[in-house]
Symmetry: C2
Subunit: 315 residues, 2 copies
């Protein structure tokens, strides 16, 4: 029912804020025709500034063949913006009644085989799509700020979303140069923000208790976990750090330490099922790579990142 | 009482595991004479492999003038290792009775103006130093894995540690090319591991509840928060994302969202005092930089990091 994701050439990006502007810049850089919808003509100047800021970075990263800022059209009429669009990225304000009204209207004017992705970070698709006449093709497509640079897009449907639309969105975002994460369940905060929020709340507790200053928090993150985390997520970082034994060794050896008061977050019961899910997941990611090979790749990545930052800051 | 940190040329590194070996490689690369103590001659081969692995990366990052692998001496006699050392980095096994016995002995043979830094991640200095005859100079100097690459060193004293020793360690580690974090209080998990542990526990909960797989967790982290976090910690990332209003806008606007179920970690009360600490801390870090300048630096950093990773993975 949905067209081939690779055949999409024309995108409507709704919203004139940093997220809508960031998406417009990203899609332009990947060689799409983009029609941007602004709620009000007064948003034009700020919008163009965001697009230009993103464009500069995206040019440095490398544009797709044919990509051009001139392929951006900015309109303040919703129907005009949506006309001919083969994909819609919606970045309207984060208020449920605004989103619901917008999806209600899009349900009437956007053909049902056009997938609509919402940038929302705080709302659930089941709520957003509630009054849309064609809710099957409505998905969350949540970017990470700044959306023109960070690759992650978290994708999940609502109760009325067709699984095919979710799968299509995954393939489409990948075609569009993003790193899609197809979520298993619709949960508040999705995946990345939930993890970040756990860290953020622990940081607030530490500042509240005089255990660290905001500067301490940032020194710790930037010089500790972060340069490794761009290479390996927390799961693979622990898997590789434990050598040949991998995640199994990590959990079997440090499982009891989970109960230590190393954060205010209560640890889950380390059941056999959870242990196996972690171990199997890490083994699947590792494939046939030996841990020494993965540790060497991690080290090459960290060296490259530290050198890149040094140059980026010396300019 | 303690010598000038910049005058240190000779270091004893105790421990033959990945942390001890990593420290030895790091100090060698920064141009120090290093005497490594191994508990048992059988550890030699593995130890040299760790040092060599680290050395390769450190060479790529740039060695200090005069740095040479030949300046490493490996011994299995503790007194010989400590003889003439102007700083001791202790990376013995993470068992309190082993550390206590070691510090008891070092208290007898290491001159009291030589600072001893412990790599421990899970023990408290107040316990480690309990039976040491000269506990004033004993501090935590906790690295992040891999210790030869990641810059962070978390520093904190125990109940009997002199504040001068803690301050000295901060200056010394900085001379030695690390990013020191002088902690305000002795707390389990220190700062970086506490933050990482909060994130890790949330990840385990998500896997336990079928909300994400280990692969999902890692895709989210690597492509979302991580490339930004090497440039800006979570505090400055939020400060800059909120434009001219900074952290004040973030907390005043999103404060209520702290209570949303976006993680299993309970949020602290956002008191006026906590708000002010966060805002003042971020403003102090920002100094006189305008938010647009900081956002541009963040973007340059992310671009550099993404390009560096692309090359690092293509080799």
């Amino acid at each position: 029912m949905y067209p081939d994701p690779a055949s999409v050439t024309r995108i409507a990006s709704l919203g004139g804020g940093p997220i809508g502007g960031g998406w417009a810049a990203h899609f332009l850089a990947r060689g799409y025709d983009v029609t941007a919808y602004l709620h009000d003509p007064s948003e034009q100047e700020a919008f163009h500034l965001i697009v230009q800021t993103g464009w500069k970075c995206l040019t440095e990263l490398g544009l797709a063949p044919g990509a051009a800022l001139e392929r951006l059209r900015v309109v303040t009429d919703l129907e005009e913006a949506l006309d001919g669009a083969q994909f819609v990225q919606e970045s309207a304000p984060e208020r449920l009644e605004i989103k619901q009204a917008l999806y209600h209207r899009m349900g009437e004017i956007v053909p049902p085989d056009v997938v609509i992705g919402s940038s929302t970070s705080g709302l659930m698709m089941s709520d957003i799509q509630a009054t849309c006449a064609s809710p099957e093709r409505c998905v969350i497509g949540h970017p990470f700020n700044p959306p023109y640079l960070l690759p992650l897009v978290e994708i999940v449907g609502g109760k009325k979303t067709a699984p095919e639309a979710v799968a299509w969105a995954g393939r489409f975002y990948e075609c569009a140069g993003k790193a899609p994460l197809l979520m298993k369940k619709e949960i508040p905060g999705f995946v990345a923000t939930r993890l970040q929020e756990a860290l953020w709340r622990e940081a607030l507790h530490m500042v509240a208790n005089g255990e660290a200053t905001p500067e301490d928090i940032d020194i710790a993150l930037r010089n500790g976990p972060a340069p490794r985390m761009v290479s390996q997520g927390q799961c693979m970082a622990f898997h590789v750090a434990c050598g040949a034994g991998g995640m199994a060794t990590n959990l079997d050896q440090f499982g009891p330490a989970l109960k230590l008061p190393w954060t205010r977050l209560e640890a889950p019961e380390l059941t056999q099922e959870l242990r196996d899910r972690m171990v199997d997941g890490c083994n699947a990611m590792a494939g046939d790579q030996h841990f020494e090979e993965m540790a060497a790749q991690r080290d090459r990545d960290i060296v490259a990142v530290l050198k890149a930052l040094r140059h980026s800051r010396a300019d």
